[in-house]
Structure formats: C-alpha cells, structure tokens
Symmetry: C2
Subunit: 319 residues, 2 copies
C-alpha cells in the first residue's frame, strides 16, 4: 500500500477525536490547549535493536514508544493529551505490520486518553531497522514537578520495583522467546501517571527512572545541587528478581544501573512520611523510601551494615 493510502487507512482513524489534526491530510496540525493549562512536551525514539529487540512485534513497538513518552509526562505530573508520530520503516514492510501497530496504538490511546494529531513516514532500505519517534503533548494545571528542586535532608522514594526490566532484557538476550513477569516489565512499561499527578504538593523533585536507578538519582541530585545516600538493601525488588539475586549477587548491577524501569523517583520532606504511606495504599503502588538527600557531592551507596559500596558504573548513557 502506498504512503497516503496507508495513512488514510491505518492512522487517520487514530486522529478522529482532534479536529485540529485535519484527519492527517494537511501540512501541519492546529492545537489550542484548554485555557489555564500549560502544554508539557516530551519526545523519545524507539529504534529496533536498541530500545526494543530486533524483530519486536508491532504491538511491542507501539507500546514502548508511547509509554516511554508518557513516563516523562508522569515525571512532570502532567496528563497525556495529544501526540505526533514519525515512522521510518524498511521498504516492503507488510501492511499487516502497520495494521497491527495502529491497532495497538488505538488501544493505548483509549487507555491513556491521548490522540494522534500528525506525523510523517518515510521508507528506507529493506534491511534498515524500524525507527520510530513520538512527540507527546501533556496538559498541566499549576506548576510542574522538576528534577532540580530537591533540598538536602529530604527522603528519596522510588515507586514499584526496580531491575525487573533489565533482568528481563538479559533473559531475552539469551532466549528471545523467554516470557515471564520480568520480560513483561521490559516489553510493557507502566507510566506512573496517577502517581505523578498525586505528587503535586508532596514531592519536592521527581524524574522517571529510565537510564538506571543510580544514574537517574545522580541526575536529580546534580540538577538540584545536592548529594544522596542510598541504602542498597532498601531498594524494592520483585520476588522474581529477589530469588535470582540470592543466587547471583551480580544482578545488583542490573538493579542499580539497568534502566528501562519507568518507575518514578522523587524526593519529599521527612514530615510527609505518613502522607506518602497513605498515597501508596490509595494507588496500590509501593512507594519505598530508599535514602535521603544530603549536603554532599555525588551519590553514596551503602550496604546493610552502613558501609560504602563502590560505584563502578552509574547507568546507561549514549556516547
């Protein structure tokens, strides 16, 4: 199917709810954010063989692409609203791929309350990796959560469990057919949108954990001009990961630096501990205190005895 027919058939239906998308037939889209709300804008790519496995399914592509971006909105406390999509696919990719990709996006739009408004598509050589980019527009009433606003003497929290996705990826690299709760965590990030929204007035700073727990805590601290002490044993891990960790302490590396968690990390005043425990109950989502900000430089990691652990590799960074 040629480009225009493909857009009309598979993608224009995803744009129906926004008249400013002009059914994807015009040069650009028109957006008018609701009065009194700010537009929050984030953009992330998902590339075959880098952010998803080679030969990832169209559904895995669509879900990771949208959810990576939604996780950034969650970290700012914003609600999903609109998005644009850039697709670069190898020549000859089957129409069925686009159909399945669009069907998954339709379900994701429904679940997260956002609508496609525009994009572009290009095709490359038959052996080119699939390369997708999404730019997401969220809405925000009131101020955003930021990375740079933590102060010394505050608690540091994480949502959910850490390390599952990185371990899931390791399992998939050994066997692409592996399928359990760990590989699910790799394929299907869960953007913490309800938490992000609830953290207004509670968190002093926040970000999403995508590059690796320690690397991201380092980012938050560096932006805020503080340091941190992290209790390694306080980091909440899933039962599946915990079990493997007991047999193989090298898995700590995945927990501390693995990335792809898409949980939120945030700081809060110590006076709000009860409040945060109640929020955790209310959301049905663990919110675990793993350390504190300090007037030091850098991030210190302590073991169960309080001894400093060496930090060899903070996390993933594109060079």
């Amino acid at each position: 199917m040629a480009e225009h027919a493909r857009i009309a058939r598979f993608f224009a239906p995803l744009a129906q709810k926004e008249p400013g998308s002009f059914s994807l037939t015009d040069d650009a889209a028109l957006l008018t954010p609701p009065p009194g709300q700010s537009l929050v804008i984030t953009t992330d790519s998902v590339i075959e063989g880098i952010h998803v496995l080679q030969h990832a399914t169209p559904a895995q592509f669509a879900q990771k692409l949208l959810r990576r971006n939604l996780s950034d909105l969650a970290a700012m406390g914003a609600a999903p609203w609109r998005y644009t999509l850039n697709l670069h696919t190898p020549a000859g990719l089957a129409d069925a791929w686009f159909a399945a990709f669009a069907t998954t996006l339709a379900g994701e739009q429904e679940q997260f309350g956002c609508t496609l408004i525009g994009g572009d598509s290009t095709s490359g050589p038959a052996d080119a990796p699939i390369h997708t980019t999404l730019t997401c527009f969220g809405l925000l009433e009131g101020p955003a959560l930021h990375r740079s606003t933590a102060q010394a003497g505050e608690d540091i929290y994480i949502s959910g469990t850490i390390g599952d996705a990185a371990l899931g990826l390791q399992l998939l690299q050994h066997n692409p057919q592996h399928n359990d709760t760990l590989t699910d965590r790799y394929h299907l990030p869960k953007p913490r949108l309800a938490l992000g929204k609830a953290l207004h007035g509670i968190a002093t700073a926040a970000l999403d954990i995508s590059d690796g727990l320690l690397a991201d805590i380092h980012q938050l601290c560096a932006a805020s001009g503080v340091g941190a002490c992290i209790q390694r044993e306080a980091i909440l891990c899933s039962a599946a990961l915990q079990e493997r960790l007991e047999h193989d302490p090298a898995i700590w590396q995945l927990v501390l630096s693995g990335g792809d968690d898409y949980e939120l990390c945030f700081t809060a005043p110590t006076a709000l501990r009860n409040h945060i425990a109640a929020l955790s109950q209310q959301l049905g989502l663990p919110l675990t205190r793993i350390g504190e900000t300090r007037a030091i430089s850098g991030v210190a990691l302590l073991d169960a005895t309080g001894a400093l652990l060496p930090l060899t590799h903070l996390g993933f960074e594109h060079r």
Copy 2:
C-alpha cells in the same frame, strides 16, 4: 563526549530563550502559547542518504531539517516559534560534528526566530546513517491556510521556480562535489514564511511543494474535491534549468515530479490577480499562475498548444 555533556555544551545554549526548556535538563518542556494564538505543529525527519546525501555536512543536515519543517508552517500561514530535536547518530561520531550542527542551528534560529525546547539523542552502530527528526511549533493568529478549501474556477499559483532542487540532486548524484545554484536549491530550501503569512485572506487553499509539483497539486485537488488544468509551459523555471531543458526534454520529468522544491502552491479567486501581482512585487518573489481548478476529476497537464500531455509518474511517495 558523553550524552549529557554534549547536550549541556552544544544544545543547551540553543534553548536559552525559552525558560520552559529548563536548559534541556528536565523530563519534558513546558510551553504556554501567547493568548489568542493557536499552536501549529509539524514534524519531519531528515535521514542520511534519503533526504540529504550520504556524508552530508552537519550544516546541510541542520538546514534541511529545520527548513523542511518551516516550509510546512509556511504552508499553513504560521510563524516559527519553538522546536524539539531527535538525534540518532552512529557511535563514535566526532564532537566536531555536533559542534558544527549546533552552530548552524544557532544561525538558523536567529534567522527564523525559533528556539530549541527539548529532544532526545541516541547512538547506534558505527555504520548507522545519521537520522534526525524535528518537531516544529508555529504560532498563528486567526485561521490557518488549508489544502482542502479550493473551489472550482480558481487560479493556481506557484512561488519561485520549480525543478531546480531535483536537477541539483541529479547533478550531485553524478558528482557529489558539483556546486552551483541548482545544488544550492537542493541543499538549502527557502521556506516561504513571508508569503504564507501574506496569503491570509488571499489564498483559498495552499500547501508546500515537497513531493513533486503534480503530486502536490493532486493532493490539494483531492483534499478539496476539485480537479485542475495545468499549463506546462507556464511553470516558471530558473535560467539554469531552462538552458538544460532546451537540450534535454527529459528534464520536464524533474520539473513536474522531482520534489524538494519547498515552494508554495496556492489557489485564489481570479478577481485577485492584480492583488497577487502586487504581492509578488512587494515580496520580490515570483508568483506565477500555472493553471486553474476545474470541476473535473484529477489533474490534466496541457502543452503550449493546449493538447493533453500523458502523466506517467506524479511524484515521490514512500512505499
């Protein structure tokens, strides 16, 4: 240089004018469009070997990337404002590449009045093509120009000259060092922003010519539910192209279907011919009447004698 250092050094300076960019250190950017203005959003990729030549210079990359997007804003009658940037580069690409790319973008920002607000960067295999995506935010007071609003019995105009960029590309494919006004047209699109703005209240429909003149006229007509008669000899060509055309009539194919022109095509009531001639004078930009919309189906191309010419290939479409 690692990713965070590269962003801080080369790209954060491009974001200085927009406080909502948080100097590119946060999860997302915050935008508040000025009251009473709509946000116009467009996005286009530029990929090495597809939209620019293999081993294109960083300056050629930056200029084509921004200007392709600005041409879409021009077609809607919008003014440039903000943009996000996605960079995917092969591992080990020299810092000098990023420095030159950012330096060119700084100049382009200055020239066109827009500011970087966010983005992402990833690295791929050492032999991966450079893949860049830009999402551009324009501002618009009042209604946008659209593709779908032409009526039968109107004049069809083009700005500037057509075919130069496609011929320039052909020359570059034979000799990558070729350098003249034709190759300049390929490397450096000139988004017709002043024209787009001036067309409010004059043009009944507009789009930018990027996929090929006839293909794009076909798009405008199909969206508007009209047909068109185009006088081939009325299409304005540069002296450099005209000279080659006289020796090689096959060059007509490049004029009609070559693409990469980034001129505007628009329709207007016949009563506005004097007005449009005056606008052309005022802008110092040829605005040439090349045909008319008709209550027919499809686009008919006529030669100097009024005879129908066969249309074998309308333009470029990604399959």
